[in-house]
């Protein structure tokens, strides 16, 4: 069972171990690697876009390929990079923070991952089969419903499968946080990262069904001859936009809330203070989550919803700035008077504050409906959402990875290299995107393949491209750091940052059962409380006893592969009905695996008390 045995059995056994694992810590590794790979692919696409726009009248890639590039860049970055990387953190950290041995449904956890991965693979296969999706990541009808070829079909099937995985993941974390908290871990003692994961999961639960419905309608329009979005047959193209943004706006909060939580934990750890205004932070998180559902039409101000609808949505949009402001001030007050340690995680967090604030400010500008007629679909919008998504989510992911790397991999990332990677990325980021505000105000539309000489857009675009390459350098330094750390750095201690929350009471990396004895939580920042009272570890809540663990399973992998195969069948049955065989085979595999899971009892196994005592305290 233990890692040592697996290592001896070599690489094949390790792969098998990861394919069948239901351990949240290993699933976190899987999410991290897969999400990281998609992040690199999406980054490559971004560089190609920036090279194309580097100079006027450029012909680096064709117009059609350019459309595919921007579509796949956006889709990949949001669904296949940012989301899974966030899930990597949630998986790695949340069970440890609440004192649980695993998530509530380990099997579903693994299923969620494999669905995401196979969905992402399906989407990217389109590059090699005659063209990727090309209707933008927003996939507006009728551009999408009439787009020739199979590109958009891949978008529909890929996201449907990956989206199911996300939904499963969200539900899993909801149940985990509601039911699996250690004794004493009341809601108002949960670390902020756990809180934001909780609210994010609620958002996933409510937002993704809208996307699912939209994708189904799109699937039937494109593959089975329905006419939901076909105006000539009595349909209505606007329905897609509404469904997409009912999902889409909460989605942007799904991207940002978890890193808000990570930043909160980081600020308080590296300021050596408890988080300022903890309950206000919780309240602001809940409020953002709620308001996030009431603003989606701010993406549609220019559609012609009418002045009343536009005004309502403009007001609700601006209202979100209030809880967001609360958070920013609480972070500042957390640092105020603290003894600040400028670790790499803290550096990313410090870089985040001004960057994200600029993004929030342009957001409020966009939110005033009348002004948005000017900004809409220009580079100003591109600048806005990169300030919040890169300056917020990506900075947050970097911060969180530096912070929790020891918990995930047992080693602290090299701090020197960390600093070295931050600066090119940070400077490059502002070079790339700050100038884009002005390009947008000068009238440069988004998603256009090229622009002309003499329009005054050349210099700005050149600067932007240079910045993009600096960001690439920053990313490469980070990758180098990962390899360097794995080879050169020593093993980390349990608590390298003098942390405050439960995860730092466990060895880095924790044993596969996490807690030998369920911890007793006696307040906010439970580890800090114990430290202040001069104790070494957390007080246990139970005597040492047998631990019940779930068995691994190959079924999630097989189920996802079934849907992957069926996906091809659905896409190509339009051309040839024989492809329904693929649908049958895929769905057969899917349901057979599901049947096996349902009817074959798998009660897991026990780690016996005696074995736990033998192993010492697990700290090796």
């Amino acid at each position: 069972m233990s890692n040592a045995i697996v290592q001896q059995r070599g690489i094949g056994a390790m792969i098998w171990d990861y394919i069948t694992t239901v351990d949240h810590k290993k699933i976190a590794h899987l999410y991290l690697v897969a999400g990281g790979l998609f992040f690199l692919i999406g980054g490559l696409e971004a560089l190609i876009i920036r090279i194309q726009l580097m100079q006027p009248d450029s012909n680096f890639i064709s117009a059609g390929l350019y459309n595919e590039m921007i579509t796949m860049h956006g889709t990949t970055m949001i669904f296949l990079a940012a989301m899974p990387l966030i899930f990597a953190l949630m998986n790695a950290v949340v069970p440890l923070q609440i004192g649980a041995r695993d998530v509530a449904f380990p099997f579903l956890n693994s299923l969620g991952f494999w669905l995401f991965l196979f969905g992402g693979l399906l989407l990217n296969v389109s590059w090699f089969t005659g063209g990727a999706p090309d209707a933008g990541w927003t996939n507006y009808a009728p551009l999408s419903s009439t787009s020739p070829g199979h590109g958009v079909d891949y978008y529909v099937m890929g996201l449907q499968i990956a989206g199911a995985g996300t939904l499963i993941g969200g539900i899993n974390f909801l149940v985990t946080i509601i039911n699996m908290r250690a004794p004493g871990m009341t809601y108002m003692r949960m670390p902020l990262f756990t809180w934001t994961t909780f609210i994010t999961s609620v958002l996933i639960l409510f937002a993704f069904p809208a996307l699912t419905v939209g994708l189904f309608l799109m699937m039937f329009d494109r593959m089975f001859g329905s006419a939901f979005f076909d105006v000539t047959a009595g349909g209505n193209a606007i329905i897609w936009e509404h469904l997409f943004w009912i999902f889409g706006h909460p989605e942007v909060y799904i991207l940002i809330l978890p890193v808000f939580g990570a930043f909160s934990d980081i600020f308080s750890t590296f300021s050596k203070k408890r988080l300022f205004g903890y309950s206000a932070m919780v309240f602001a998180t809940v409020l953002i989550g709620f308001l996030g559902f009431m603003v989606w039409a701010h993406h549609m101000f220019t559609v012609g919803l009418g002045p009343i609808a536009n005004s309502i949505f403009a007001v609700s949009t601006m209202a979100i700035a209030v809880p967001t402001g609360i958070k920013i001030f609480n972070w500042l007050f957390t640092m105020w008077g603290g003894s600040i340690k400028l670790s790499v995680a803290m550096l990313w967090a410090l870089g985040f504050i001004p960057t994200f604030t600029i993004g929030g400010m342009t957001g409020v500008m966009l939110g005033s409906a009348a002004a948005d007629y000017q900004y809409h679909d220009t580079y100003f919008v591109v600048a806005h959402f990169h300030y919040v998504i890169v300056g917020g989510t990506v900075f947050g992911l970097f911060a969180a990875m530096h912070y929790w790397w020891p918990k995930m991999f047992g080693k602290v990332l090299n701090e020197k290299l960390g600093h070295l990677g931050f600066w090119p990325f940070f400077i490059g980021f502002h070079l790339t995107f700050f100038i884009q505000h002005f390009l947008g105000l000068m009238g440069m539309p988004r998603r256009y393949w090229t622009y002309f000489e003499g329009q005054g857009l050349a210099t700005g675009n050149l600067i932007s491209t240079i910045g993009a390459f600096l960001m690439a350098i920053g990313t490469l330094v980070f990758l180098y750091n990962v390899v360097y750390t794995a080879i050169k750095e020593p093993k980390a201690s349990a608590d390298p940052w003098d942390g405050r929350t439960l995860e730092w009471s466990l060895p880095s990396a924790p044993p596969f059962y996490n807690f030998k004895q369920t911890p007793l939580v006696r307040g906010l920042d439970p580890l800090w409380i114990e430290k202040m009272e001069g104790r070494k570890g957390i007080t246990p809540a139970e005597p040492l006893g047998d631990i019940h663990m779930p068995n691994g399973s190959i079924l999630p992998f097989l189920m996802s592969m079934g849907l992957f195969i069926a996906g091809f069948g659905f896409i190509y049955q339009v051309d040839n009905k024989l492809w329904f065989i693929a649908v049958a085979v895929g769905m057969g595999l899917f349901f057979a695996s599901m049947f096996t899971r349902s009817f074959k009892d798998d009660l897991g196994y026990h780690i016996h008390k005696e074995d736990l005592i033998e192993k010492g305290d697990g700290k090796e």
């Binding site: 909801l174 509601i178 609620v202 639960l205 409510f206 809208a210 209505n236 606007i238 329905i239 509404h242 009912i246 709620f290 559902f293 009431m294 039409a297 919803l305 009418g306 609808a309």
Partner: protein, 108 residues
């Protein structure tokens, strides 16, 4: 000592019994009410009353029945159901917002 624990546990048992009894009474009452509502609904339709009157009343009765189902038969009124309640009402709010949008600014 053991006598006292026995007394305590017997007392607890009695409390539980009372609670169960009350629960049972409530369930029977709501069940009867639900049947009554159904009778009202059917008879309104059979009696051919103006549809302007029937429609809102039917919707109202349906709403009350859903509430009965959730709170009495599925125990949402009991302790320990706070989170499910919050999440269900949250979901309903969002579904409602969606329906309002679709019926006000898309289709009419």
């Amino acid at each position: 000592m053991s006598e006292r624990t026995e007394n305590v546990s017997r007392h607890k048992l009695n409390v539980r019994k009372d609670e169960n009894k009350e629960e049972m009474v409530q369930q029977v009452i709501t069940f009867a009410l639900m049947i009554l509502f159904t009778l009202i609904a059917f008879s309104m339709v059979i009696l051919d009353i103006s549809s302007y009157f029937i429609k809102p009343i039917l919707l109202l009765l349906a709403g009350v029945q859903v509430a009965f189902q959730l709170f009495y038969f599925m125990h949402m009124k009991n302790k320990g159901h706070f989170m499910p309640t919050v999440i269900m009402f949250g979901g309903m709010t969002i579904a409602l917002a969606t329906i309002i949008t679709f019926t006000t600014i898309i289709w009419w």
